[in-house]
Symmetry: C2
Subunit: 334 residues, 2 copies
DNA sequence: CATCCTTCTGAAAAGGTTTTCAACTTCACA
DNA sequence: TGTGAAGTTGAAAACCTTTTCAGAAGGATG
């Protein structure tokens, strides 16, 4: 049986209040007793029970994270940032994968509520009205990560996806490309899908290349294979000299397809990705891409949530972090 | 203020015992009251407080996972298996990254103890005596994942690393290669380092190729770049026709190095990896590798831990799951 | 010497649930 | 009509802490 505060009290021959004080405000107890208590704690190997503590203090020191899928290395980086920041601020993370399943999400939310989690980090899912209602009902501190909501007043941390996509495509155009295609996520995905498409179109329009905006193939699930999409794209528009892939994983599938079909990169076709995942440095050729500050976003979101939990005033509701085009070898000037 | 069981009781005009029974053993309460209570729960949006529940039941429905780094896609797959199995069995996961730092590990262990976690999943770290003492002191249910201990009687789930490495190298040899090299993890890593090295050596010895076992370069940190190691290796032994990389990430770095230096794969040099990570299907050329059943290992380890927690007899202390050589395009017969 | 402050301490309440126990109803059966 | 069993119910204890409150002890001040 685990030792409790009572056992310590008995061994040190003091009341449990005193033991509690030794742990939480040592300066208020006289030295003789304090050392007696400390020694008792030591010999028993006593550690306070967080459940009891949380019951009374209404704090659990735990944050709940909701992500689509941890296997996606984008989220892995994000979470690592969250974890490091959490450790610093004294939180633990409970991580739940939803596979973008609505029911799973709602079920996890309720689970968080029951567990008396201190706050929620909700990633990537667009905030649909029914989510919002559920969130509102639960009244728990919340930060949206790599997603945001323009309809509702919810705090968020992300990059500007539209601008980032615009910058990627502008980079292709300024490298002399005119026949440009895109592999993107479904437009119903208002974060990674629609916005990046909008950035793509805005860049084209600005350079009077709008005719080209039909050269696009959509993916409906992030785990889907970039190779197939690539095949469809080049069937649709064989004359392409450059492709913007809405994620590095897609870009890697695309690279694979092009290699299989003897189309050299970047000589014949240039490729630009999105996310800057770990392995994009090691593709052949090394992938040019637009980098999201994933780790940093994780850190910031936890700090933001912490501010909300502790009732500090949070200066900015919706935070946008800077992205960056990382130039490597997969785009050629022509 | 969140509604409590008292509020429900008052609204339904019954005692709190009855409310509790409605939730935990509905058949023992008469129908009229039961519906009254259910309705009250509904209108108040009541959800039981897990802290209070856990305090009395001595169960939190939470498992603690200790991993080196979630960004390593190997662990991400593992965790996904754990998560799915946990969901099924009614657990949540608290995930902690140690970066293989001893102090962090110990600190997390104590944190788990305080949080009254139901059990621990400890991955990859070899079990050093001081860990063992700590674990023993805490007396918490534990399963080792993708690591094991031969000194101590601890339950574990992993593959047979030595045999898997042996199979990888045998595959190279049976493909006609004699000049074989290896990029491996430091031998002080008794799981991914030493064992895979031993498998490498056993295969060489069996085919009388032992002279070649000096062709090896060690990596001291998984995040280290495979490219540098590749460079050292080919400086050491330029005549190599095949390389066994102890992880797919290393293999990808190696591929990148070879491409940079105009050494064609698999025509001039063959490469075999280890782990079968997601992206190994998309490298150029597609990577031949030995697959670990990562997801399955995650699932099995949670099931095993669950058995231990519920006091069921667990049939096998140390479980070894089957691996498999996945043949793709990076190894050429000669 | 009386009074007032400080400093230190323990008893008890509170936090929200589950579970035990005793008591009360109801019903079947003799 | 009486007896016992079965079915329901609520009061109270238990789980382990933190915190409030009042009291005791000691010192300083008038």
């Amino acid at each position: 049986m685990k030792p409790t505060i009572k056992d310590v009290a008995k061994l040190a021959n003091v009341s449990i209040s005193t033991v509690s004080r030794v742990m939480n405000a040592p300066e208020t107890v006289v030295e003789t007793k304090r050392t007696r208590v400390t020694e008792a704690i030591e010999t028993l190997g006593y550690r306070p029970n967080s459940l009891a503590r949380g019951l009374i203090s209404r704090k659990t020191g735990t944050l709940g994270v909701i992500i689509p899928d941890i296997r996606n290395s984008y989220y892995a980086d994000l979470i690592r940032g969250m974890e490091d920041a959490s450790k610093k601020l004294g939180y633990n993370l409970i991580i739940c994968n939803t596979d973008s399943d609505k029911n799973r999400l709602i079920s996890y939310l309720n689970n968080f509520y029951e567990k008396q989690i201190d706050g929620i980090l909700l990633t990537s899912e667009p905030v649909y009205p029914d989510y919002y209602n559920e969130l509102k009902r639960l009244k728990m501190p919340l930060v949206l990560v790599s997603t945001h909501s323009l309809e509702y007043e919810l705090p968020s941390v992300k990059i500007n996806d539209e601008q980032a996509a615009y910058d990627a495509v502008s980079y292709l155009i300024s490298s002399g490309h005119k026949e440009i295609g895109m592999i993107g996520f479904d437009l119903s995905d208002s974060i990674a899908g629609l916005t990046r498409y909008q950035g793509f179109v805005r860049a084209l329009r600005e350079y009077n290349l709008e005719a080209v905006k039909k050269n696009i193939v959509y993916i409906h699930d992030w785990a889907e294979n970039g190779e197939e999409a690539a095949q469809k794209l080049f069937q649709l528009a064989p004359e392409l000299t450059a492709v913007f892939a809405a994620s590095d994983e897609l870009a890697i599938g695309l690279l694979s397809y092009l290699h299989e079909n003897g189309i050299s990169v970047p000589e014949r076709v240039s490729v630009i990705g999105f996310d800057n995942i770990r392995l994009s440095r090691f593709t052949i050729p090394k992938l040019t891409t637009v980098a999201q500050p994933k780790y940093e976003m994780g850190v910031r979101s936890v700090e933001k949530l912490h501010r909300i939990i502790s009732g500090e005033k949070d200066p900015i509701l919706r935070e946008y972090l800077p992205h960056e085009v990382v130039v490597r070898d997969s785009v050629k000037r022509r």
